[in-house]
Amino acid sequence: MNQVPDQNGRFGEFGGRFVPETLMNALLELEAAYHQYTQDPTFIEELNYLLKQYSGRQTPLYYAERLSSHLGGAKVYLKREDLNHTGAHKINNTIAQALLAKRMGKTKVIAETGAGQHGVATATVAALLGLECKVFMGEEDTKRQQLNVFRMKLLGSEVISVTSGSKTLKDAGNEALRYWVSNVQDTFYILGSVVGPHPYPMMVRDFQRVIGDEARAQILEAEGRLPDAIVAAVGGGSNAMGIFYPFVQDESVRLIGVEAAGRGVNTEFHAATMTKGSKGVFQGSMSYLLQDEYGQVIEAHSISAGLDYPGVGPEHSYLKDTGRAEYVPIRDDEALEALQLLCRTEGIIPALESAHAIAQVVKVAPTMGKDEIIVVSLSGRGDKDVESIMKYLGGSADANESH
């Protein structure tokens, strides 16, 4: 496969920079700074230091023996991104972007957030590096995720409740972009996923590839060979892109992205961008998109606020169309079931996002041989979701109910 993206930020026909002219010079400056500092040994050293000493990397690649034997097929390994500081993979990217902001002389940062994980990760590094931080969050999500709103405030950030549109993640993204247009001269936008205009999809991928780089070395050490499949949840797609990317050239490794099917892909309530979407331009790039025939963006639905997004990163669209990766939908109920299974077999409460990946493993592992290997990106821990899980399960966590 060719190196992507090209100099215009294109992954095949996907990607690009579809933004107001006011932002173009800022994106070009960001791209130049990205190329400059990611070659700079002191930047790399500082980044690696913080990833290790502050966030706790490397994260373990854990052999989930009881889950594997319960499923009766492939050996399942969990890449434990949930063990990062702040409880998810998001901080890999926010540390790197905040360091870049400092190098570029910006003192203010902004971020969009859905469930609040990226917002918390941004607020955290803003505190660490002494940056002034505003986080845009849909009003609906501020209600659903009150604890994360409080966390961000505790960390010294301002949380701006977004009341436009559907009042969820996509609108938080729109509002962050609008704010950036107005304050582009002193503000750095820390975008949380492999979406948006070039260079973000490339940059966030490269800052998240540490997940896949570590997992690759770890599985080679543990098993002496590459895995047969990698499974990761895809909302915008940053943890999936991070773990997929170092394996893209290894054609024997199946790459499986799991998107949220909500109440089902044949209902109106899903976030299955790859399964049900079509090509379009949204929030700065060309990719698959949930939209109507006239190009109006359709609201997404998922039990998981982190997957509740009508777009997807352009490189995922490219991997789909080239056939290198496959994308499958998982419903809310399947994710909840898988979440409980992981709790009981391994003593790990996964985030609802990651539970979608586990649910796909539940489907695919039994069809594979006992000598085959799956690596799953366990992108985040479930503490943030416990309250909503309790609500969905009707306050019951009785072992007999779910099986």
Binding site: F18, P20, E21, N25, Q185, V281, Y294
Partner: protein, 270 residues
Amino acid sequence: MQTNRIDQSFEKLRAAGETALIPFLTIGDPDIPTSIQIIKELEAAGAHMVELGVPYSDPLADGPVIQRASSRALKHRITILDCIHVAREAREQGVNLPFILFTYYNPVLQLGLERFFELLAENDISGIIIPDLPVEEDHHVRELAVKTNIHLIPLVAPTSQDRIERIVRNAGGFIYCVSSLGVTGERSSFHEGIESFIQSVKAASNLPVAVGFGISSNEQFRMFSQMCDGVVVGSAIVRKIEDELPNLGSPSTRNAAFLHIQDFVRQLKA
């Protein structure tokens, strides 16, 4: 390049020493027949061309006023096709103004570029503004625009700097200068150095230069008239329409509401 209604209008204005007043409205806010009547009022008030705004679900370049107008229009599923047809309908009802379609890129893309330009030509639309299509991405659109003699009007921002030359090189119709950093919406102050910014755009292009984003008063209109060939007024008019919605909705006050809108636009350039 051939000329079209936009060029002819600017030629007349130049001869008369006047500045173009270019109002914007969101089509379908609150409904199509009202939009068509408002276009007539704009012409009666002395507007020189009109921007027909296509409502969009995710209007990145717009502030709250136009966002609200878009939501109102989208509630009854106004499409880009409806907006294009409004031009024809208004023309048939006697409107002579040149029409400029203001739309985000995705609705254009879903229609298909070829079909989009065919429809623009058929419906007598002379120019397009696509706020999320920078020069790096506009190659195919520009080719078709030239082929169909429809002007692709570019936006130039105070942050464009050394990009200005590249942006204006292949432009048609006029150059649209963004008055300040930020989204659409009324404001009391503009970008520092706005005057030298406009001067640098004028130096780079022979086309007429218009300014927009945030202009809402007669005072501001006059100030910018000194500097450039056209002034776009968007949010202020959309807000006026919003204020008049209750009156537009009732048969007994509907005509008065149209006159209020007309008066508002007339006093802008008084």
